[in-house]
Amino acid sequence: MFVLSFVPSLASADDPDSVAWAEQRVQKEIVRPLAEQVSKRFSRARPAPRERRVRITDPTPSHDAKGRDFVPFAVDVRFGGAEWKRDDVVGCVYRASGAVFIRREGAYYPASLLLGKGVAAVSGVCEPSPPARS
């Protein structure tokens, strides 16, 4: 699955509107599927937020240790009150493949974790590689 997630998608790294593209990927992989889930009212689970919004936290792509470009994002949520709760979900979108990862407890997982899929943490993703020494 990890290998498949890096199969190139139609969006290229040179896409002029890469921020909008990354937002769309997060919308498709996280926001829409979560919104479609039926929220259970009489449960100890957190009630479903009234609204979710995607923020691209740094529009300039970073590179991981393998030199792949990614864009970090955050999903903010709003419950009944007027205030947005920032960074409810944070992660990154890979520009070449469109793969979306989310951070939990310091590790990164494929976004399908949020939809209840049993997936393992993926090491080395969403972490910018240190700048090369001259």
Binding site: K40, P47, G81, Y109, G116
Partner: protein, 251 residues
């Protein structure tokens, strides 16, 4: 005459409150059980589990969740049935239901609940709430069984009220979460309040409802003193004195 009417009204009110409590708890228990069916789908994880991932001991936690849900679905209705007069009149049935419920609570509900509480969302304060509630159940269950074996029925009833009261937190807490969500209160704050308030209120109510409780005795004495010193006529006069000035303000 007035005292007789007052006592009759009190009795009637108690009956209605008892019926309302039992009906609410049975409905709540059925609803929780229906909602918990998803926990037994071994292919996908329900939202309540997803929001906790990753867990340190996921297999143990998931197994505990399933045991807890199953144990609650069996023991809570049995406890509620044992509270009814119809079952209490049939001593043998009451004993059998009580024993089954006691075993399920002691060996299923409490240990699994303790495991789940360690990873409760909301941190140590919420974990402490679950553990406190579980401790009350364990302590009351132990004393309730001991009292039953010694044929101390009043003490047994008092202890078992505490057991059922803490088990009812599962329903009242969820009802509060729904209410807080409708009111737009932050879910994390709501979760904390919706746990601690029912735990403490249930313990207090169980104590107040127990005839052998010292707390109840002092409350009854206080209420009786207030009632004797404040006649219903005086109360009407006071209420009118408070209400009357309000419409006058509009003139």
């Amino acid at each position: 005459m007035a005292d007789e009417t007052y006592s009759a009204m009190q009795r009637q009110l108690r009956i209605w409150l008892r019926i309302a409590f039992l009906a609410g708890m049975v409905s709540g228990s059925l609803l929780i059980s229906a909602m918990s069916v998803a926990y037994f789908d071994f292919d996908s994880l329900p939202p309540f589990v997803i929001e906790k991932l990753p867990l340190r001991f996921q297999t143990l936690w998931l197994a505990s969740l399933r045991v807890h849900v199953l144990a609650a679905a069996i023991s809570f209705p049995l406890c509620l049935a044992s509270l009814t007069r119809a079952v209490q009149r049939r001593v043998a049935l009451h004993r059998v239901l009580g024993r089954i419920a006691g075993i399920v609570v002691l060996f299923g509900l409490l240990p699994s609940g303790a495991v789940l509480s360690l990873d409760a969302k909301g941190g140590p304060f919420v974990s402490a709430g679950f553990l406190f509630s579980g401790s009350i159940v364990a302590y009351a269950l132990f004393h309730g069984v001991r009292a039953a074996r010694r044929h101390l029925l009043v003490a047994h009833a008092r202890a078992m009220r505490h057991v059922v009261a803490q088990m009812s937190v599962a329903v009242s807490s969820r009802a509060l979460i729904v209410g807080f969500d409708s009111a737009g209160i932050d879910p994390e704050v709501a979760y904390m309040i919706a746990l601690w308030v029912p735990v403490l209120a249930s313990a207090l109510l169980a104590e107040l409802l127990s005839p052998s409780s010292g707390l109840r005795a002092s409350c009854v004495v206080l209420i009786e003193r207030i009632r004797r010193e404040m006649s219903s006529f005086a109360l009407v006069v006071r209420v009118r004195a408070l209400v009357r000035p309000v419409p006058r303000l509009g003139r």
